[in-house]
Symmetry: C2
Subunit: 177 residues, 2 copies
């Protein structure tokens, strides 16, 4: 039964998202803004292609976690982009979800609730250097917890490169090999 | 794991369907056929509203069976429409799926494979007279098996009303009370 509810819920959420976009296209057409409507369509196509790439990574747990994350209310919006996908080595699906989930849970308790907080997650699984790039904008109450999170990742053997770490933004590269 | 695969598959199929419609809108806009594009959008909205009604019937097994049916290849295409939905009595979700599944399996083995076969299923759950209306167009090799199916339904205590029963079309009302 939970399986069944899962599929119906997934379809409901997907339908809801698409309907919003469709209303946007329709609204623009009503106002004779055909070019703007075309842009909305192009954005929808890119989003769909990105989702499709995510699903083709053969990391079903990670894909489902990402695709369903924004369906519940959170302080931090999750965006994602699949960059390179050529890595041929083994990646532990469950471990990757654990890492991402841990970071999001940490951010949820660390961000200012009044701010517009967003984490863009770039999935950059190149053959040479498979990694996540976590790119945050918003407001963190403090950066210390994030520094501790980085230390823990490093203790767990994950290489971390901190490009930027401020209250208003951070960019962290995390190797997943 | 099957749960997980189910959600991703559902999203993939939904995305695929929507993308086809989106290409249709886009194509029409490229050709400056704005009115035609608007019509496509209106049809998409109606389809989505219909799906939404189906999901609100509180018959999750039936809803999932219908929504996922055309995702695998069949000789008979399934269409559906939710008419009345005011029936307040108890309906056995599993039993309804069993009836519909049985009919579709029967049709699959009875239709001419070269024909365009389609079953439109009207879900007409009014307070007074909750029923399915099965409206078929295509080509049946014979009508005998269908007559036997009707007899079995009647033996099972389901009232059946045959509006039309020919090789090229049938309309059967089946009470589900």
């Amino acid at each position: 039964m939970s399986d069944n509810r899962g599929i119906l819920d997934a379809l409901r959420h997907a339908r809801h998202d698409w309907m919003n976009d469709l209303q946007l296209i329709k609204g623009n057409l009503e106002l004779n803004r055909v070019e703007r409507a075309k842009q909305v369509i192009d954005t929808m196509v890119i989003t769909a292609q990105n989702e499709s790439k995510l699903c083709n990574l053969r990391l079903p747990l990670l894909a489902e976690w990402i695709l369903t994350y924004n369906w519940s209310t959170h302080m931090v919006k999750l965006e994602f982009e699949v960059g390179a996908a050529g890595y041929s080595g083994y990646l532990d699906d469950e471990r990757l979800v654990h890492i991402c989930k841990g970071l999001m849970e940490l951010l949820e308790t660390t961000v200012e609730s009044s701010a517009e907080n967003q984490l863009s997650m770039i999935i950059d699984f190149s053959e040479e250097h498979p990694r996540f790039i976590f790119d945050f904008t918003g407001i963190l109450k403090e950066t210390d917890v994030l520094e501790r999170w980085i230390e823990i990742q490093q203790k767990n053997g994950n290489k971390v490169e901190t490009e930027l770490l401020q209250k208003e933004a951070f960019v962290i590269h995390l190797s997943v090999e």
